[in-house]
Subunit: 342 residues, 2 copies
């Protein structure tokens, strides 16, 4: 009797687990970018400044979108899109990067492709115009995944990447920022005006990143940053760490993170989002929400992530008041956002 | 009828998923270590050499075991156990570390605790006697997770950690190894005798690591290495990368990896084992098998991992012919192994 009931049960209700039949989706493509997350508030922004950010975000994402639309690779789209943001002094990556405690720059970047899980990263470089391209070159032309410091600069030069003088990266804004942060540190202040607090918090953010799905179904993710203002001891944040700041896997998604790097490393943010999708069946949106709002936030960290899944679904999630970000789908619909509540 | 069958089915067979009631286990403790994985073959080993390795592995693990048995923390057990291996010239960590292309050492280490997910790491240091202690100090005394190069050396000196002259780390064996690897590279050889291949492959391995569960139920993991012989461009491997070489989380397990670092970074090995346990319900053994034999191996990588789960179950998994390793349980049972088939 038990046996009959059991068979009947399986036949009638499919109690036994059956593999899900997911229809193979039509080829599509899409691209998502960020220019950093943080305490970005309307009251601290002028209409002109806001317009400037939105314009560069739109320009950058359209560069990648054109590549994807023409059948180009997600790798190329990510690289060329990030170049635009690295060249803009608005963001904390490439030109306009923040200054470390010694008043010099140390740039980090990483890149990963979802088809073969190839990856490359550089940290603490001082002379490479496009750090994201150096990360890609490490992946393509070295037996390694991650190079650092002077060795990474040497490698990039040997490979013929564009090398620039340190002055190229410096901006008035970042020089002043370092001065203010160091004055505050020297004064050993323990309380701050809201304006000061906002300013100081801003110095921790500004990383740029891009994720893309191309028409061949390949995902790619890249992240590039100058790290934290007044950083010391050759600190490495999450941006050049595969699994923390950057991850891509054609089985799930491509992710680029931006936020308080220490918390993002400890939470292995980018890989954790992918793992929640692969092992628990969460959507990219659910997975990112879980990691940012439950895991990172519970440790006391903040920041944001952008992502795109293997079907082209975009994701932009943060637990900060804002994140410079944009998304563009295959139809060419563009959304550019700054504040969380947009 | 359908309804009745359905209910009967649930009652009789528990088709519907019921939450597993896991009884709270008795407090226990345990410790697992490795001294590197690779092409370790009986035919290349003398009885004396084998005995030497087994003796240091036993000595190291007993140091941690005594701490745990006395109610000490997993953090202290991991640190002090790794000290023994860092001080032994047999392993590629601390004294006896391999030499880079310039004939100098660059040491990497990382540490993570499972209760609060605090973590610390250093890479490319040249003067710190116990790199694992520097990683722990980054965690405890800096706002950062990862420091690198000269900055990390400076930090360690400022913190009063033991600093040694470069000569401390050098051993005849590693100087000869660098010479042989560089001669082989200069000769641009494309085929190798089995003995040469075995020798060259050996130069990629030798990382040490330790994971422990203490009587308070806290997990910790640590990894320390000299990286690859003849490495260039300040290469960073998986050992100092939280999520790749080291991960600990009281919800799941503590993991330390050793192997071909590039593949371990791309596979986010340590965190992936934890994620398979947390999200898919795999045991630590099943999760490690999946990651090493299916994921890392499919990319073309090799190496091994050791781990311990929150209930004290040990794990030692590899896809290489051998891994120097040991496990000791709460009862004091000690197993020391070298070859895969032991």
């Amino acid at each position: 009797m038990k046996k009959i009931l059991f068979i009947a049960c399986i036949v009638l209700y499919g109690c036994a687990e059956t593999p899900k039949q997911e229809p193979k989706p039509e080829p599509t493509f899409g691209i998502v970018i960020h220019g950093g997350a943080g305490t970005i508030l309307r009251k601290n922004m002028t209409p002109e400044k806001e317009q400037e950010y939105r314009a560069v975000l739109a320009e950058a994402i359209q560069v990648g979108h054109r590549i994807l639309k023409a059948g180009g690779s997600s790798q190329e789209a990510v690289e060329k899109t990030i170049h635009v943001m690295e060249e803009s002094p608005l963001f904390n990556a490439g030109k306009g990067a923040v200054l470390n405690a010694e008043g010099s720059i140390e740039l980090d970047a990483s890149f990963m492709r979802g088809d073969n899980l190839d990856a490359g990263a550089i940290s603490g470089v001082k002379t490479i115009k496009h750090p994201i391209s150096a990360a890609i070159q490490v992946m393509e032309a070295s037996p390694h995944v991650m190079l650092s410091g002077a060795g990474a600069d040497t490698f990039a030069a040997e490979q013929g990447l564009e090398i620039v003088a340190p002055e190229y990266f410096f901006t008035e804004r970042r020089i002043n920022a370092l001065k203010r942060v160091q004055e505050a540190a020297a004064a050993k202040k323990t309380s701050w005006t809201p304006e000061e607090r906002n300013f100081l918090e801003h110095q921790r953010y500004g990383t740029v990143g891009c994720v893309a799905l191309d028409l061949s179904g390949n995902l790619a993710a890249g992240t590039s940053t100058g790290g934290m203002t007044n950083k010391n001891w050759n600190r490495i944040g999450d941006a050049p760490i595969i699994g923390a700041g950057t991850y891509a896997n054609n089985a799930t998604c491509a992710i680029s993170a931006t936020g308080w790097g220490e918390f993002f490393i400890r939470s292995v943010v980018a890989h954790d989002i992918s793992a929640l999708m692969e092992y628990k069946g969460l959507t990219i949106q659910e997975a990112a929400y879980e990691v940012i709002h439950n895991k990172v936030a519970k440790l006391g960290g903040d920041g944001g992530v952008v992502g795109i899944d293997r079907n082209g679904n975009p994701m932009m999630e943060m637990n900060t008041p804002g994140m410079y970000r944009a998304h563009m789908d295959a139809a060419g619909n563009l959304e550019v956002k700054i504040y969380q509540d947009e």
